[in-house]
């Protein structure tokens, strides 16, 4: 790769690589995103490589491992371009047929395309699959197109064009102005106006300033940022260069959690490429602007998603948040003015500058502009990543794109915003999703996790789950969060194990109010949301646990009884082997019995039984 010395050189280089590429050339794009990777996408790509070699297709067909294609439920996904044929659930065994039928024969392998679970209708091309209809991909746009390890790929689709425009044709004020006019709000959770944050930081005097990308996506159930960091790392880098130029920073940090090893690798590689190519470093393209980026790895602490804790962590300290003011924009990393934005915010920046603030502001709702990426998971048919304009309703996302609830079960709630968010019930399904409307119903946008729950989920258990997660993750610095979570967890453990008392509900409400008002940082202030929203919308479930000692969803195990249906039992003894306490016994080749005195209600017998002989009440 040559070192690019000037603007003209960049233009010329881009022209060269474009000229070398034939848009009509056959491409095989194998998804290696967070959903497909664990399903064996590496093996699928490997199989294509070998099969294409065996059939003499190397050089004729381009094979790429790309970022997330979106519809994770049907992975491993393979996209054939330029035809846009979308194959699903591809295994290495399917590869020879795809190569033979599609790559050589030019036909479609019908059994590998999308099929509607209800109507049975098939969709061959990506644009015909209902999951993709209604989406508006800006941040995810390039993910199923480019090889994230190739800077050339990013350049071919127009990458670093915005950086060039900004460094040579725009003043820092103009950049901030554009971001402000676009109405972009931080995609990490609180939704602060990005342009205003930049302006505040620019106005603070100081020679040394920093920009930080918050890639510490710790919300359980969220993987939007992981997909972007793994699938389009240069977009983040380009966004940060633009932000650095705007506020007057010359050093950026990308803070990635270590639980995302591939994201760490891709970002490290992309930064090295950009530096080698001359897009990072001193006097970028002879613009006079210096900017470089360091990668900083998290070490397993959810609280480091909070900006002051993240800064403490980069500085080499424990991730304890600091009281504000001073805000990071005034006094942040190493005491210097600092702008922190999350991955998706940074990835939005190049497109906003490139297409114009007004174009972006035309998308979305009055106070929430643009699009939002959601990780749609849980009890929904089409789990995966979606990007929709702000203001799309929950119903559209869950039932149209998401294909509804599996197994014909009923929708119960959708949890948004991670542990700081809330559970939204059925009556709000037509809620247009934006920052303010979610807040009105007691939840938050958060980073974009959207976990769908059906009638098999117990809302008391969900609240207990989040509180126990937060208790483990709270830094322990301030009293309301540390002791409040401890006591909430005590109470919720009591309720879910049949020890609940009437007064527990008001006691929890008192703790929640104080945690929300008096905690030091956002973690503690919002930690009560899962409890408050479930208490508000699903109070009857709490009451069933407390008064009747029953879990209506059959989830809270101490409240359940497991028995064996002698009619259904085949005496296969799978449950006997699995039972950790030896509670199951019976005569040979006859139906088995569970001794209720020994049974610890772990439910593993139920999970291993192939014949539905274990009954739960």
């Amino acid at each position: 790769m040559p070192k690019i010395e000037s603007v003209d050189h960049l233009t010329e280089y881009r022209r060269q690589i474009r000229a070398q590429r034939d848009p009509k050339q056959q491409q095989v794009l194998v998804c290696s995103g967070p959903g497909c990777l664990p399903l064996g996408s590496t093996e699928v790509a490997q199989a294509f490589q070998e099969e294409m070699q065996a059939k003499g297709l190397q050089g004729k067909v381009i094979l790429k491992s790309t970022g997330c294609h979106g519809l994770c439920a049907h992975g491993v996904r393979v996209l054939l371009r330029p035809q846009e044929i979308a194959y699903e659930k591809v295994t290495p065994e399917d590869v020879p047929e795809v190569v033979e039928t599609s790559l050589i024969g030019g036909k479609v392998v019908e059994r590998l395309v999308y099929q509607d679970p209800v109507s049975g209708q098939t969709a061959v091309h990506k644009s015909e699959v209902p999951f993709y209809q209604g989406q508006k991909p800006l941040v995810l746009r390039k993910l199923d197109e480019i090889d994230p390890e190739s800077l050339d790929d990013y350049l071919v689709v127009g990458g670093y064009r915005t950086m060039r425009k900004v460094l040579f044709k725009m003043s820092p004020e103009e950049v901030i102005d554009a971001v402000e006019r676009s109405g972009l709000r931080g995609r990490g959770g609180a939704g602060f106006l990005t342009g205003r944050k930049w302006r505040l930081c620019r106005q603070v005097p100081g020679e040394m300033k920093f920009v930080i990308c918050n890639g510490d996506e710790g919300d359980p159930g969220a993987f939007m940022d992981r997909a972007v960091m793994e699938g389009d790392p240069h977009a983040i880098i380009e966004g940060m260069i633009v932000g650095g130029y705007a506020i007057g920073a010359h050093q950026g940090y990308i803070y990635v959690r270590h639980e995302y090893p591939l994201a760490v690798k891709r970002l490290t590689q992309a930064v090295a490429q950009a530096r080698e190519f001359g897009l990072l470093g001193n006097n970028i393209l002879r613009s006079g602007f210096d900017f470089d980026i360091k990668i900083s790895q998290g070490s397993g602490a959810f609280v480091c998603g909070e900006e002051t804790a993240l800064i403490a962590s980069i500085e080499g300290n424990i991730g304890e948040p600091m009281p504000r003011p001073p805000y990071p924009a005034q006094k942040g990393l190493f005491g210097m003015p600092t702008v922190i934005n999350n991955v998706e915010t940074w990835a939005n920046v190049p497109e906003i500058i490139n297409m114009g603030a007004e174009w972006f502001a035309a998308l979305g709702t009055e106070k929430s502009k643009g699009t939002k990426v959601f990780s749609l998971v849980g009890a929904v048919n089409h789990t995966g990543l979606v990007e929709v304009p702000m203001g799309t309703t929950l119903r559209q996302i869950i039932f149209e794109l998401g294909g509804g609830i599996p197994g014909g079960r009923e929708f119960k709630a959708v949890q948004t915003g991670g542990p700081s968010g809330g559970c939204i019930p059925k009556q709000f399904l037509d809620l247009p999703v934006d920052y303010d409307s979610l807040q009105e119903v007691g939840s938050i946008m958060g980073s974009g996790g959207m976990i769908v729950m059906d009638t098999t989920s117990c809302m008391v258990d969900v609240a207990r789950y989040f509180i126990s997660f937060l208790f483990e993750e709270s830094c322990g610095k301030c009293t309301p969060c540390r002791e409040g979570l401890r006591q909430l967890l005590n109470i919720l453990n009591d309720i879910t194990s049949g020890e609940g008392k009437e007064e527990h509900i008001s006691l929890m409400e008192e703790i929640c109010t104080t945690m929300a008002s008096a905690s030091l940082c956002g973690l503690g202030q919002s930690a009560a949301n899962p409890v408050l929203t479930t208490l508000k919308y699903f109070r009857a479930e709490y009451e069933a646990h407390i008064r009747d000692k029953k879990c209506p969803a059959l989830v809270c195990r101490p409240l359940l009884t497991y028995t064996i249906d002698p009619e259904a039992c085949t005496a296969c003894l799978a449950c006997v082997r699995e039972c950790p306490v030896g509670a199951i016994s019976g005569p040979k080749k006859e139906a088995q019995r569970i001794d209720q005195d020994i049974c610890i209600k772990c439910g593993r017998c139920h999970d291993v039984c192939q014949f539905e002989a274990i009954k739960v009440e």
């Binding site: 009281p323 208790f471 301030c478 009293t479 401890r486 008192e510």
Partner: protein, 238 residues
């Protein structure tokens, strides 16, 4: 020095810029309870007892007064219902954590709480994790022999690896500053025992009374540049 005017409980006052809300309230004679605050130490806002309500109705919020700087025209309520409720619950939570801590019992009683409605995991616990000891050791003594370890579930104040610390000079400042008297400190027969380490006390060359551990005298000597022998005479005889 530039002054900032603000309202505390409806009373307008001017204080020097850079003052915290707590300092301003103190100037006015308003009593705000604190646990982790010490005028000689950097404030961290840990205990949340000193929270006050700021802003205009209905957009008010609680902030900790020990770190929040005065702002021109800011409207501050130090004893509003919202503040008192937060203080009550915070104290009740602390009482459940450290039921034997006298100071917490007293502060809670002042707010009408005589027993916590929450579960107590350790009936003998005294530590409220205010961090005064850690900050004193680090900022005033300058040795950093103790620190917090772990996160919420097992957070505690300790020496590294829960072992006697080489860095400790046996000065006992941590024990003196502790508001709930949780740090064991024994001085007997010319010995001082703290954090699991036993220190021999040096006697005064003149009167023969015990002064302090050798490590502490050496630390003084290092800080002041005086020879350590200078400290072999107690303050009374000097």
């Amino acid at each position: 020095m530039e002054e900032v005017g603000l309202l505390i409980n409806g009373i307008y006052l001017k204080v020097p810029q850079g003052y915290t809300l707590l300092q301003a309230a103190q100037q006015l004679g308003v009593d705000i309870p604190t646990l982790c605050y010490h005028p000689e130490l950097p404030s961290e806002g840990n205990c949340r007892l000193c929270v006050v309500e700021i802003g205009e109705h209905p957009r008010t919020r609680l902030v900790n007064s020990c770190t929040y700087p005065v702002e021109p025209g800011l409207n501050v309520q130090t004893h509003s219902e919202k503040v008192l409720q937060a203080r009550r619950i915070t104290l009740e939570l602390l009482l459940a954590r450290a039921p034997k801590a006298k100071l917490i019992q007293e502060l809670a009683a002042e707010m009408g709480i005589h027993e916590s409605r929450f579960k107590s995991e350790d009936p003998y616990e005294l530590c409220i994790l205010c961090g005064l000891c850690v900050r004193t050791c680090r900022e005033i003594v300058g040795v950093s022999a103790i620190s917090m370890a772990n996160r919420t579930p097992g957070k505690l104040v300790t020496t590294p690896f829960l072992e006697p610390s080489d860095a400790c000079i046996g000065c006992g400042s941590c024990a003196f500053v502790c508001p709930t008297e949780v740090i064991p400190y024994i001085e007997k027969d010319g010995k001082r025992i703290i954090w699991g380490r036993e220190f021999e006390l040096v006697r005064c060359n003149i009167c023969g009374n015990y002064i302090a551990p050798m490590a502490q005298l050496e630390h003084w000597a290092k800080l002041t540049g005086e020879p350590v022998e200078h400290y072999f005479v107690c303050r009374d005889c000097r």
